[in-house]
């Protein structure tokens, strides 16, 4: 078996009702990969946020589309790809989060992307074959490594 073969592929409708399923599967995959419970919770949050972004931005709330999640254990790290065939997403268009300004201006956008970046070691986006692929990688813990912060 190729080391790059997906360990699990999950396809769910683009509805927020399925965020709980996404969270549960991500937690389980993270724990199987060797992350502790706190780290698994954080990984689940990052994948929840990425999936929410797909529903709200790439699919603009359309419920009949599909989100594909690919979990791949790469040995020293866990890779999760979130794939959609919605509108092109430009992560550069997401505002940088300045919490003090956000509070005073009643802004809330960009928090999810900010969380993803803080939790994961790498978050990258690519577009190909009319699909958006968000690739998130988290290195596995070594002895003494703890969850953020």
């Amino acid at each position: 078996m190729s080391a790059r073969r997906p360990a699990l592929v999950l396809r769910v409708p683009s509805r927020t009702e399925f965020l709980a399923t996404i969270r549960d599967v991500t937690r389980r995959m993270a724990e199987v990969a060797g992350f502790d419970s706190a780290q698994a919770d954080q990984l689940a949050l990052a994948v929840d946020e990425a999936s929410t972004n797909v529903i709200e931005h790439a699919y603009r709330g359309a419920p009949g589309r599909t989100i594909e999640l690919r979990f791949r254990d790469e040995g020293p790290s866990l890779c999760v790809e979130i794939v959609d065939d919605g509108d092109p997403v430009d992560p550069r268009a997401v505002p940088q989060v300045d919490l003090q300004r956000y509070a005073s201006e009643r802004r809330t956008g960009g928090l999810g992307m900010h969380l993803m970046g803080r939790i994961m070691d790498s978050v990258t986006f690519r577009r190909g074959a009319h699909r958006n692929v968000c690739c998130m990688v988290k290195r596995k813990p070594t002895a003494g490594t703890e969850a953020l912060p």
Binding site: T16, A38, T52, Q100
Partner: protein
């Protein structure tokens, strides 16, 4: 299973909210609605007591962020208590611990409003 329920009660003019379950993009409207009910009644002193809050995503954090200025402008505050480690970590990751007062217990959060006049961003 219902993913989120939010009970509320009032004590000494303070609205106590008890979210039970998960706050994410799917459930956040319920949470926002309970906060808005308090504001509609002119209640600007709010404690979110999170002992049964299992998880909060950015949608829930955004709900708090979206009302805090109005609450503080009206002399109140929204404070948090009894957050579990998972939820507390999320607040810390985002730096929300610098924007909101977070208390180990609900009683401490309630008593903090007796201090008088001390609202808003926690001291460093």
């Amino acid at each position: 299973m219902t993913e989120l329920s939010v009970d509320s009660r009032e004590l000494e003019g303070i609205v106590l909210l008890y979210p039970r379950g998960f706050i994410n993009a799917h459930t956040v409207r319920l949470f926002e609605g309970e906060i808005q009910k308090a504001l509609d009644q002119g209640r600007y002193r709010i404690v979110v007591s999170g002992a049964d809050l299992k998880y909060i995503a950015s949608a829930g954090l955004g709900a708090i962020m979206g009302v805090v200025e109005e609450i503080r402008t009206n002399g109140g505050d929204i404070r948090l208590a009894e957050l579990n480690e998972t939820v507390r970590n999320i607040f810390d990751i985002l730096g929300f611990n610098h924007l909101y007062r977070i208390f180990p217990s609900e009683v401490e959060a309630i008593l903090s409003f007796r201090e008088g006049g001390e609202t808003g961003i926690p001291k460093a």
